[in-house]
């Protein structure tokens, strides 16, 4: 059809109205249309119809450009060849306009991307802080930790004698050890406070090679007995209790009854301490409150039974970690051959980094993979949306192509739009990251090491920028290339938007939906598995009842602690006082909380051959009357510890079932006598007896959490031991809400000089065991849900578009009497094909994924049928919902309306 000269083809009018509406009112836009028509008339009169279309487009495209830039001098149309920069800027401008024209789509895409990108930025900032950022020591990867192993492969700390053996190795230089040490800070004014510190040997600070913030660390003579007590202070305590006063260096500070000279302050950060190297609890933020030198008697360095030392070392120059590992294993084997280590035992070495953060590495890797999957779902979702939009823009693209825009230019224009969208999403994502991190830290009170240092720094911004570029290519390229396929363009020029060229595009969209569904299936399967595994963990009977139990760490005043007999009497009366507080059901004292590792020592069973190398080992704890009752640990045979077990009565011990089975199989342990040789040296006043009579067998306790087996344990009577500090275990009867305050009050009244360290609720401590699992489970399943929603959205868009494009067909079919069910079937088959394909692919992909995460699962098989059945079911249900929403529209089509709309 030819236009009359002064008429103007509709495509130009449409272009002008669409591209100018942000700037001009209707009347003004009409003026422009008029002007263009007149210009065309003038052009025709002067040059004829040749080049008319090009001329028109040159004039048309200038309008949005001129209007977008408020002040431009009059300028002529460019005759020079555009530079790349010019055209990129033009594309960018064009992209902004295009996006402004479809605010809903823009908003949706930016929102989807913001969710996925912020999830990625947040998890990456955690991964960076915890795993990637180096530990704050020089060459941190050359620091290693040393362990004793037993026949079952369980690791334990080293005995002093073994430390000496390790020091002889050439592969390690230096080697240092540490053990925990509490001390009560008794300032002249203010409340006494129990500080958790470390006793360290020579080699500890040398291994870390970290310079103190102020002062100088221990010198060799500081480790000798009889020297003046000296202390290196942790940063936190220095700031909190001494206001960061540098004049503190060289001064004496009273800890308990002892004056310590403060010789240095260490910078803040992580340090190996007993908490950090347990294998159960990773690095505690802040490190020890203080360090003091270990001053063992020389003969203690011959002890190879009492495994109380955490050992760290630095690899000697030019030694690799595997060489060192070999050397350590060889030394272990030699010690076993000498009879200096028990049969089946040995030594092993791990990287300190692994000790510090290795336990969370797998969980974080899983999280990183999860958010990556989420990102892919979001990307394909956005790709599908953009593809839909490309359909709506076909005439614009066709016109541009007709005007001579190359395919690359058209692709670039669309990529520019995607880049803008992704950048917007990324910006929102980055802005949200600090908030999400805060949310993460608050929602999950956990001891993930270094989590508190996570922040959205440069690395996170760089990572997000990479994601934005990746998204641009992933979601932008395919729709752009498809939309500009030249054959398609030609076809589009001839047909209008109801044409049949949609087929290929919809196939692509179906593929995208299938891909999203597949990834969502994987995410959901993994989530369900983790949730089930977590429930299983929570269901494990730890061997004690945690409900309504709180624990308080108490250190006796120095006047009392000085004499062993008074201390014992003091503990008994303290326990009595606690027991009588209203609201307390039963109170007991012990050396450890039931959720802590204690020290492991060798012992002899009387009547068995004395073979020091092959002697059995068990963990040792001291408990007083009420301890077992407060924790509801059952006495299986014999009796528990009572108040009548005193220093001057029979020295008693209890063992747990694991110890009974391991060491007294087939015999009755009750009445048997055991000797723990190292006890002789532990007593400060030589009053601790090494030989004890077993009077009872108690239930096993999983001291190291639900995943660890209960280890053989020996409980000694607290009153037949020396301890200047204990843990009070208090079970409430639930009748009062303020029992904790009452306990604190009662302890204050006993003696103002009594030092207390925080009341902690046992359920909370127990939940620390599963903190990592909870962390991973909560996050992965949240991401799973987001992924599910996104893929449901993708499906909805697909089906909705399909229905919209076939409105006419449906209308016609309804008009000639097709039953609605036939249409429904049609809609369903459009929707369900990609979903079913996606579900099948997803399940196939999920199988190796879950198998790889076997170590993250507890009590659930990686190919758990229930999880594999649930996930597809959930997805199909969600898909069904999306389809039903669309189907309602399809059936609601008014035949007359549909036909008219298309006529």
């Amino acid at each position: 059809m030819r236009n009359s000269p002064s008429e103007i083809p509709a495509v130009y009018v449409a272009f002008l109205h669409l591209s100018l509406w942000p700037w001009l009112k209707r009347a003004d836009r009409d003026d422009v249309v008029r002007d263009i028509a007149d210009l065309r008339t003038a052009y025709l009169a002067e040059s004829g119809s040749r080049g008319l279309a090009r001329y028109t487009w040159r004039q048309l495209l200038q309008f949005p450009t001129q209007l977008a830039l408020p002040h431009r001098r009059l300028h002529t149309l460019p005759h020079r060849r555009e530079t790349t920069m010019d055209s990129v800027v033009a594309d960018l401008r064009m992209a902004v306009r295009t996006l402004r024209r479809s605010p809903l789509l823009t908003f949706t895409v930016v929102a989807i991307l913001a969710v996925a990108i912020s999830a990625n930025s947040t998890i990456f900032s955690v991964v960076y802080a915890v795993l990637i950022r180096p530990l704050p020591f020089p060459e941190p990867d050359r620091i290693v930790a040393l362990w004793n192993t037993d026949a079952e492969g369980t690791r334990s700390r080293l005995a002093p004698g073994t430390l000496v053996d390790a020091r002889e190795l050439d592969a390690l230089e230096p080697v240092g050890a540490f053990m925990s040490r509490n001390a009560t800070l008794t300032p002249p004014d203010g409340e006494p406070e129990i500080l958790q510190g470390a006793r360290v040997t020579q080699g500890y600070f040398e291994t870390l090679a970290r310079a103190p913030l102020a002062g100088r660390i221990f010198e060799p003579h500081h480790y000798q007995r009889g020297e003046k007590p000296v202390m290196v202070l942790g940063h936190d305590v220095w700031m909190r209790r001494f206001q960061g006063d540098r004049r503190l260096i060289g001064r004496d500070v009273l800890f308990g009854e002892t004056q310590y000279e403060i010789i240095a302050v260490m910078p803040p950060g992580v340090y190996p301490s007993t908490a950090s190297i347990e294998g159960t609890l990773p690095l505690r933020p802040g490190g020890p409150d203080f360090w003091v030198p270990i001053r063992f008697q020389d003969e203690f360095y011959g002890n190879r039974r009492t495994r109380i030392l955490g050992v760290i070392a630095r690899l000697a120059p030019s030694i690799t970690i595997s060489q060192a590992q070999e050397a350590v294993a060889a030394r272990g084997a030699a010690l076993v051959a000498d009879g200096r280590l028990p049969e089946g035992g040995g030594l092993t070495l791990t990287s300190f980094r692994h000790e510090a953060v290795g336990t969370v590495q797998r969980a974080l890797t899983l999280l990183l993979l999860t958010v990556a999957a989420l990102l892919l779902i979001a990307a394909s979702n956005v790709a599908a949306l953009l593809l839909t939009r490309a359909e709506a823009r076909q005439s614009e693209l066709a016109v541009r192509a007709a005007l001579g825009a190359g395919r690359w230019r058209l692709v670039r224009l669309q990529l520019m739009e995607t880049l803008l969208l992704a950048t917007a999403g990324g910006t929102v994502g980055i802005a949200a990251t600090p908030r999400l991190l805060g949310l993460l830290r608050n929602a999950i009170p956990t001891r993930i090491p270094r989590l508190e240092t996570a922040a959205s720094g440069t690395e996170v911004v760089a990572f997000t920028a990479l994601i934005v570029l990746g998204i641009t290519l992933l979601s932008g390229l395919v729709p752009a290339v498809v939309a500009t396929r030249s054959g398609l363009l030609r076809a589009l020029l001839r047909t209008t938007s109801t044409g049949t060229a949609q087929g290929g595009r919809r196939r692509l969209q179906s593929t995208l939906v299938a891909a999203q569904t597949a990834m969502a299936v994987v995410l959901v399967i993994v989530s369900v598995l983790l949730v089930r595994s977590f429930l299983q963990l929570g269901a494990v009977d730890l061997g004690f009842d945690k409900a309504n139990v709180m624990t308080v760490s108490v250190a006796a005043p120095d006047t009392i602690a000085a004499v062993a007999a008074t201390t014992r009497a003091f503990w008994l009366s303290l326990r009595q006082t606690l027991d009588e507080i209203p609201g307390v059901a039963v109170a007991g004292l012990g050396s450890d909380r039931p959720v802590e590792r204690s020290w492991v020592d060798g012992f002899r069973i009387e009547g068995s051959p004395d073979d020091s190398g092959d002697s059995p080992h068990a963990s040792l704890r001291q408990i007083g009357p009420g301890y077992l009752e407060a924790l509801d640990i059952p006495v299986i045979a014999g009796r528990g510890v009572t108040a009548s077990d005193r220093a001057d009565t029979v020295q008693v011990a209890l063992i747990n079932e694991a110890a009974a089975n391991a060491f007294f199989a087939g015999t009755d342990p009750i009445g048997q006598r055991i000797t723990i040789p190292s006890l002789e040296r532990i007593g400060f006043q030589g009053e601790v007896a090494a030989t004890r009579e077993i009077v009872g067998v108690v239930g096993d306790v999983h001291h190291l959490g639900p995943t660890a087996a209960a280890d053989p344990s020996i409980y000694l009577a607290l009153q037949q031991f020396e301890s200047y500090s204990t843990i009070a275990i208090i079970r409430e009867d639930g009748s009062r809400a303020d029992t904790a305050a009452a306990v604190q009050q009662a302890l204050r009244e006993i003696d103002p000089a009594l030092a207390i360290r925080g009341i902690e609720r046992l359920p909370l401590l127990v939940s620390d065991f599963t903190a990592r699992e909870r962390f991973a489970t909560v996050l992965v399943s949240s991401f799973g849900i987001i992924g599910l929603v996104l893929s449901a959205m993708g499906l909805y868009v697909l089906v909705a578009r399909a229905v919209a494009f076939r409105t006419r067909e449906y209308g016609l079919r309804l008009a000639i009497g097709a039953p609605p069910t036939a249409l429904l079937r049609d809609v369903f088959s459009t929707a369900l094909r990609p979903v079913v394909v996606g579900v099948l692919v997803g399940m196939a992909v999920a199988a190796p994924v879950t198998t790889a995460m076997r170590s993250q699962l507890f009590g659930v098989e990686p190919l758990d049928p229930m999880s594999f059945a649930t996930a597809p079911l959930v997805l199909l249900l969600v898909a069904l919902l999306a389809v039903l929403l669309c189907a309602r529209r399809a059936l609601g089509v008014d035949p007359a309306h549909a036909l008219r709309a298309d006529g």
């Binding site: 002064s6 008029r34 007149d38 200038q62 009059l74």
Partner: protein, 96 residues
């Protein structure tokens, strides 16, 4: 631009201006620039505009007409004066 309006008897629609400029400069002129500039001059008070009466024989709706105001004329004179003074003593050939 004001000069062009002045040349067109002080009352014209935008397309004649485009054609006039094209004819004078020998280059293709962007109607968009003219459109934008006219509106800017109008805002500054150099021009006034109104929708003209339908012209017999002309297709479509009536054009918007721009009229040169006294202020605009003054501005044209001033600009010409400045240009004249600047070019005094230079041999730049014809300055139109």
């Amino acid at each position: 631009m004001l000069l062009a309006v002045a040349r067109l008897d002080g009352l014209t629609s935008s397309v004649p201006i485009v054609l006039e400029l094209q004819a004078r400069t020998g280059r293709e002129v962007a109607a968009a620039s003219v459109f934008v500039t006219l509106r800017r001059l109008e805002r500054r008070g150099y021009l006034s505009s109104f929708v003209g009466d339908p012209v017999p024989g002309q297709a479509g709706r009536p054009r918007r007409l721009f009229r040169l105001l006294p202020e605009g004329l003054e501005a044209v004179r001033e600009a010409g004066e400045v240009l004249r003074r600047l070019s005094e003593g230079l041999s730049l050939g014809d300055l139109a």
